[in-house]
């Protein structure tokens, strides 16, 4: 059996040529080969949401996704979100300002899930935000600040859009 296959990944706009076995998850490759440790490893069974990244703009759990199957797609991790905006993304800013970050472990996944959601649905109701974030566990905040942060980010982004 030939185990190593050449895999080309595009992460945060950077191209990587890797030689990895097919049984490695996207989460493992991001953290261990690319040292992008902003993507968190926690439950590893698609329950907690800490490993969420964007694949062509859609939030997925990187612990359930094979790295080889992410070829040809644009991967965005939390490291790329801040870089592309030059400063904090409005969603990150809203998380900081509303106290939605405590220990911070769930934050990268939630921020990316919020981005994917707000890109599709810029004017959400609170109920829609709750539904959009069901796949994320937070053991500190009690969720209220997180919901508020996503709504605040939506308002901020809508305000910016109106100015343009």
């Amino acid at each position: 059996m030939k185990h190593l296959s050449p895999v080309s990944l595009k992460v945060n706009g950077d191209a990587y040529e890797l030689s990895i076995p097919a049984w490695r998850t996207l989460l493992e490759v991001l953290r261990e080969d690319l040292s992008l440790t902003g993507t968190k490893r926690s439950c590893q069974e698609g329950q907690c949401g800490a490993c969420t990244v964007l694949l062509d703009g859609r939030a997925i759990y990187s612990c359930l996704f094979l790295a080889v199957e992410a070829q040809g797609k644009e991967i965005l991790t939390i490291e790329g979100l801040a870089r592309s905006a030059g400063a904090l993304d409005p969603i990150q800013k809203a998380f900081v300002e509303t106290g939605a970050v405590q220990c911070g472990f769930c934050t990268p996944g939630l921020v990316l899930a919020a981005k994917s959601f707000l890109d599709e649905n810029p004017f959400p109701s609170e109920e829609e935000v709750r539904r959009a974030t069901v796949g994320h566990l937070c053991r500190c905040t009690g969720y209220f600040q997180i919901i508020e942060a996503v709504l605040a980010a939506a308002r901020e982004r809508a305000g910016k859009g109106a100015q343009l």
């Binding site: 493992e28 698609g46 359930l64």
Partner: protein, 302 residues
């Protein structure tokens, strides 16, 4: 349930067409598993419940994720994700309850990856999609190097995690026949949390209204997590045909449905509780679908 480890080793095959996938499966017969979204399979492999020598990844077979109109009905590619079903205008127009059912599965992250073909082929009793599709008279298409065949979805499930697909066959498409006039469906489920949870029990109902007589015309009822396989409850269906949509009729149908079911006891629910749920959920699903079909008939909106 074993503890989680890193994935075991496997060969990875990435066909680009259905023909290539069929050949790969035929060649590796017995030691390869088809890999759709992978949200179930990755977990089963991490737990070492399955350790296939090879997996055949289907994400690169573009023709399998198409939703199209066909002879008045709809054909849904097996690799269509629940996210795509949720937001499909074509499916929403004909069967909006399928969009709602899709939207109730897992989380957005799961729905972006998990596929309808995987949900059917996994043949787990807790799957939400088989029952609603069964009430619509869905047909599944199976392909192999030997050819193609079609099978009623009702005849597809053989047992826990067991289907009628031969080891060299691939589920390629789910076909929904054209929707009769003045009809509507509903799927209601009970689960402990409102999201990210396995369904304790679910009931799908599809009602066609007899406009001329103001009665229930045809009705189909199918249950999830109420036996080793998703099942139609035909006694309950028969009892409702030609009846008025009254509380009495619904209660009777609920009783018949919970008698026909074969629910098991698990930590989620005792058998008695599941039976009670089946009765209640059957009434709710019938009320939702029946009212919608009746209103459509009264307004003349086929």
């Amino acid at each position: 349930m074993g503890y989680l480890r890193r994935l075991p080793r496997f060969d990875y095959l990435a066909p680009r067409t259905v023909d290539e996938a069929c050949s790969a499966l035929a060649e590796r017969r017995g030691d390869a598993r088809l890999f759709a979204g992978g949200t179930d399979l990755v977990l089963q492999m991490k737990r070492r419940e399955i350790t296939p020598r090879a997996i055949i990844g289907l994400k690169g077979v573009a023709s399998l994720s198409v939703i199209r109109s066909q002879a008045g009905g709809i054909a849904i590619g097996a690799m269509t994700t629940f996210g795509a079903i949720e937001s499909s205008p074509l499916i929403r127009e004909k069967h909006d309850f399928l969009c709602e059912t899709a939207a109730g599965i897992g989380s957005p992250e799961i729905r972006a990856v998990a596929t309808v073909g995987g949900n059917l082929s996994g043949a787990l009793p807790c799957a939400d999609f088989p029952a609603p599709l069964m009430t619509l008279g869905a047909i599944v298409r199976l392909r192999s190097v030997r050819g193609e065949r079609a099978l009623a979805l009702e005849d597809f499930f053989m047992g826990f995690a067991e289907t009628a697909a031969a080891p060299d066959e691939i589920l390629t498409e789910i076909e929904l026949p054209s929707r009769p006039g003045f009809s509507a469906g509903a799927y209601v489920k009970f689960h402990d949390r409102h999201a990210m949870d396995m369904t304790t029990t679910g009931v799908a109902a599809f009602v066609t209204w007899d406009r001329a007589r103001g009665l229930i015309g045809d009705v189909r009822i199918a249950l999830s997590v109420s036996g080793p396989v998703p099942l139609r409850v035909k006694n309950a269906e028969a009892a409702l045909r030609g009846r008025r949509l009254t509380e009495e009729a619904l209660v009777e149908a609920g009783l018949l449905a919970c008698r026909e079911a074969q629910p098991r006891a698990s930590w989620r629910a005792r058998e008695e509780f599941r039976r009670e749920l089946i009765g209640v959920l059957t009434q709710r699903a019938l009320r939702q679908a029946g009212e919608k079909a009746r209103v459509a008939a009264e307004r003349g909106n086929a």
